[in-house]
Symmetry: C2
Subunit: 205 residues, 2 copies
DNA sequence: ACCTGAACACCGTTCAAGT
DNA sequence: ACCTGAACACCGTTCAAGT
C-alpha cells in the first residue's frame, strides 16, 4: 500500500525534525511506525532510498507558489519559500546538494525560475545557467545558515596570532568597523536577491 | 606530539579520498595509523573533532594564492582554487557548510576576497555581504557538482506524466532546444564568475 | 502478502588496566 | 605518558522462518 509508505516517511520526517538526521535510523523509524526494521524494506528500500523519499516529500512544501504578474516578485517569493523550507528542516540542506531536481515538485519549481527568466527577456541559451546560479545561491545561503558556516567564529582571534604574520589580514583590519556589527540575515538575503535580479536584468536582451 | 596528530589526520584524509567519508571510522583510521581506536582520542578528540581537523588541514591547500595586481584575476584565481579543492576532495563539500572560516588558512582566504572588493571600491559596509555571496556561490557550485545536484536527472521524464498536468512546464517546453545540450561546467563556472565580477563593479562607488 | 527474529559485520565511546 | 582490551549501546542489512 502507498499509505504504508507515507506512514513510514512521516515517521522519518518527524524524527529528523525533532532529533536531527542522525536520529533517523531504520530501527528508530521502524519503532515509531510500530513495526520491525525489516518490515520497512519493501516500502522504502534501504536507508539511502529512505532519505531520497524524505527529500521528495519535503519538496512538496515548495510548490504552492501562486503566480502574480511580476517575475521579480515571483522569483523573490520562490527564493523565500526555498530558504524557509531549509529553516524548517535544516537537516535537508546537505541532502539537497546530492541529487538533481527529479521529483515533479522540484521540476515544477525549476520551471517557475525558467519562466521568470524568459519573461525577463533573458536569452534562452543563458536561462539554464542562470537558473542554476540562482538556485545554487539560494540553497547555498540556506545551507550556510543551517550548517553554521555563517555563524560566529567562536574562536579567540588571538589563536591566529603567530600563525599568521603581522599585517597578513589587511582586509579584516580595514573593515574592523563593519565586521563587529550584528548581521540581519533576512535583510542580507533580500539584498542578495536584489543583486541577482539586477544581474538578470543586465543579461536581458 | 603534534606529529602524531598529523599522522592520524593524514591517514583519515587518505581514507576519505580513497574510499569516501563513510570509510572514515575511528577504527579504520586507527588501523591505518597502526594503533588501537582509543589511542586516537588524546590527539584528535572524538569523531566530530577529527572531521574538523581534516577540514582544517584541507584548507591549507587553498592558501598559495600569489597576488598579481588585478583584483579581478585574483578573485577568479581564488574561486578556481576553491572549486578545484572540492574536486580533489568531494567528501569535504558538505563539511565546509558546517562551520565558519576559523582556521588561519580560511581567514586568510576570506581576507583576500575582502581586499579584492575594497580595491574594486566596494563600500566597506557592503564588503562582508558580498564576500559571503561570492564564497557561497563558489562553495555551492562546487558542492552541487560534487554531490550530484548538477548531474543528469536520470529518470524517465514520462514518470512525471500524469503527476503534473499537461502544459504545467511551459519553461521547459520553451527551452527544449537548450536543455538537451551538454554543459561545459568549466565554462559555466567562468561565466558565473564573470557575472559576479560585473555585479561587484556595479556596486562600486 | 506481510511481518518477525536471530545473526553478521560493523559503529563511537566508556572505563579499567597495563607498561 | 601512552596505549590496549573488553564492554556497552548502537548501526544497516541478509536470510530463514513464521502466519
Amino acid at each position: 500500500m502507498a499509505s504504508r509508505r507515507q506512514e513510514i516517511l512521516d515517521a522519518a520526517l518527524a524524527l529528523a525534525d525533532e532529533k536531527g538526521l542522525d536520529a533517523v535510523s531504520m530501527r528508530a523509524v521502524a519503532g515509531r511506525t510500530g513495526v520491525t526494521p525489516m518490515a520497512l524494506y519493501p516500502y522504502v528500500g534501504g536507508k539511502a532510498a529512505l532519505l531520497d523519499g524524505m527529500v521528495g516529500r519535503l519538496l512538496a512544501e515548495l510548490v504552492p507558489q501562486d503566480a502574480g504578474p511580476d517575475w521579480r516578485r515571483r522569483l523573490r517569493a520562490l527564493a523565500h519559500s526555498g530558504r524557509s523550507l531549509v529553516h524548517r528542516h535544516p537537516w535537508a540542506a546537505a541532502l539537497l546538494f546530492a541529487r538533481p531536481a527529479v521529483t515533479p515538485d522540484a521540476v515544477f519549481a525549476v520551471d517557475q525560475i525558467y519562466a521568470a527568466l524568459l519573461e525577463a527577456r533573458v536569452p534562452g541559451a543563458q536561462v539554464p545557467r542562470l537558473e542554476r546560479m540562482i538556485s545554487t545561491l539560494i540553497l547555498g545561503y540556506a545551507a550556510s545558515e543551517a550548517g553554521g558556516r555563517f555563524g560566529p567564529a567562536d574562536v579567540d582571534p588571538r589563536a591566529w596570532r603567530g600563525q599568521l604574520p603581522e599585517g597578513a589580514l589587511p582586509g579584516h583590519a580595514a573593515l574592523a568597523r563593519w565586521l563587529d556589527l550584528p548581521v540581519d540575515w533576512d535583510a542580507e538575503f533580500d539584498a542578495d536577491l536584489g543583486d541577482l535580479i539586477r544581474l538578470v536584468e543586465s543579461v536581458s536582451r
